[in-house]
Symmetry: none
Subunit: 215 residues, 4 copies
Amino acid sequence: MVTNTIKKQRVPNSERRRSSIKSVLDSALSLFVTRGYDATSMDDIAGQAGLTKGAVYFYFKDKLSLLEALLLRTDKELIDPIIAKIGASNGSARDRIIMLTNWFAIVGAERKELPLLHVLVSLEMHGRGNRIEEMVRKTYKDLQNAIAEVTRVGQLSGEFTSDIPPEYQAAVIVALIDGLLLEWHRRGDQLDGRALAHGARNMILNGIAATRQPA
Amino acid sequence: MVTNTIKKQRVPNSERRRSSIKSVLDSALSLFVTRGYDATSMDDIAGQAGLTKGAVYFYFKDKLSLLEALLLRTDKELIDPIIAKIGASNGSARDRIIMLTNWFAIVGAERKELPLLHVLVSLEMHGRGNRIEEMVRKTYKDLQNAIAEVTRVGQLSGEFTSDIPPEYQAAVIVALIDGLLLEWHRRGDQLDGRALAHGARNMILNGIAATRQPA
Amino acid sequence: MVTNTIKKQRVPNSERRRSSIKSVLDSALSLFVTRGYDATSMDDIAGQAGLTKGAVYFYFKDKLSLLEALLLRTDKELIDPIIAKIGASNGSARDRIIMLTNWFAIVGAERKELPLLHVLVSLEMHGRGNRIEEMVRKTYKDLQNAIAEVTRVGQLSGEFTSDIPPEYQAAVIVALIDGLLLEWHRRGDQLDGRALAHGARNMILNGIAATRQPA
Amino acid sequence: MVTNTIKKQRVPNSERRRSSIKSVLDSALSLFVTRGYDATSMDDIAGQAGLTKGAVYFYFKDKLSLLEALLLRTDKELIDPIIAKIGASNGSARDRIIMLTNWFAIVGAERKELPLLHVLVSLEMHGRGNRIEEMVRKTYKDLQNAIAEVTRVGQLSGEFTSDIPPEYQAAVIVALIDGLLLEWHRRGDQLDGRALAHGARNMILNGIAATRQPA
DNA sequence: TATGAATGAGAGTTCATTCAT
DNA sequence: GATGAATGAACTCTCATTCAT
């Protein structure tokens, strides 16, 4: 009853806007990932962001647009950088695949939710025919194309096995990453992240390597 | 006013019962997998099964119990057999891993929905703390234990690399299978299932193989 | 605490259905007319019908469909009969116009809401481009066509003035009826319905009559 | 960072005030008439006026006050002048009724929305028991009184039929005008305004005329 | 003067579930 | 066994209104 009424701070509007939007997106991210999109209500998101529903609707036209903004942000922070890194690298194909696995291992360890968002959303939105489905599809495609390109190079240089067409090799690699993220999501408390990442890297590198010749 | 009411049945009740339950479970399976559990209404399920909601409630206490029965059936048809097969096999560890990948490749091709159910449900139910979560966790654990056991044998016999602890190797293998099922779910129309399965088997076998010695 | 719990009566389902639908439509009619469509909530309607919102949605897909059903019912009870009567009559054109004005005077006196529904809905839905707009437009057109036809006959027989094209004459007659219904709606408590109807009939009959020749 | 902030005005404040208010009222008029009062949001009004909601609230206490101001303005431009004209005229009763119909025909043709406002608002506000309802009632009463007065004169002079009490005759005339405005509102695109006005004038003049004697 | 941010109440709609028939 | 009717809670979204800047 005493000092619950803080003078609503003297914050410039532009700053307030930025911070409110960030709160909303952060709340949405954590809730969408832990509960799922449908199972998260706008009230939940607003509440966790310290706002009311109405305020959320002030910034985002509707729930789907909120998700859209979130995916865009995640693309920018998670997917675009690794695609760029892989593309810009001078290293061998193998080195670049290592860059890839490391990237997801690190982000997965530090900000779990980020890489999970796309996987989970792609599954929940499956078959709904909305613009989100298309967005996620494109993100996946971009990532797979980048990996396929590396694979192609590795096959030409003899680093990687040529048994599998590059696009399928890329699909398998992405599948493994997705699967691991989900496993990490489901059993993160019971697993040693480092050991898991090590196992994954091992599987990928040996899995795609050219059969080693006798010395 | 006379005989408009044809006696609707002449089928023994037990038979009817069995067929109604099967209809409901089949409908639920296809809907849960394509739309998700939450996004599927009891009306949808009943409608697709050719019944009314009330009838579904006659057979299943509530929606969650329906899902439970479905998971049980799937365990029996999909998971239990492969665990048994692997356990009973006399083949080498490598052969048994091949049995595993083939099993999922075949079932994934013929009855897509079956293996997808557990993956999707495990994600949608994540964190809800209900009995389903526990059920799925157990199924995964059983499968991973079986695979870990094979891995252990393979490591001892020198077939497989010993770099990775068996439980983590198993986790990675399951992750890859899950990831592939999801990829198959998302892009099935654009992918050649055989090529994907081939890529996966290649990745797993090479990925876990002991580094080949010089001849 | 004594007998508040009446054994929910032993009413056959078909009867219950009929009576529930009627309650809902009746409530909707009276509320739509007194408050307007938008200003009436589904809760209001359900409450006045002695049901819950959910029950209303059991019978009507959505609010607009409820309105649609209501308009259909009103067409059947109010508009179709008078169009039929006018068409079937052997009387003079003048007699048939009298039939028309009497019809609206009687219905307006006894069941005020019935003839008001179309007028009010046509105004509230104006410009929304939904199916209701189209429905009401059609109803008006049918009525005007019937009146125009009578007018045409009256003009040919020399009963009515030929100064005004029949369709416009019909439009003016309908406009007068609409205007009177609205006036009756707004000030019904302060007006003598009989006097008003008398004034209207007088205006119409003299208004459309051929200028009387010298004897 | 330098002069991005152009001083937005150089207009004397009183001028600005006047013009903002006018914008708001004009927007409100067109929106209230085309969509209705309830269905028009303060945002719609502000947007069409080139302002924000806040600005509208600066000039008008609330939505109802905005409507009130609008009705006042419309009274001044539409109703008061014709009442004054009729009262001041030296012409015959018939001439004065012609003045009336012409007035509405002209304003209806040139500024449709003006005369529609009262009709539509009177219907939408019906039964809400707010001050608007009272305002509109008074406007109608004033107009009807003026017409009744003319009618009385016409009856005394023998120009008009004495069958109908003057107040009822006035009510019928107003009803016809209202009905025609609504018809014009609903079907304006399909009707010839001139023909409609002609039909209306004809109906009124013949409708209220004393039965013509043989020459 | 005017804006942008935020609130809170309420609307339409969906859906798991219950129960009398 | 199965249906149809009904409930009640929850959810998305809208909007008049307020207030600090």
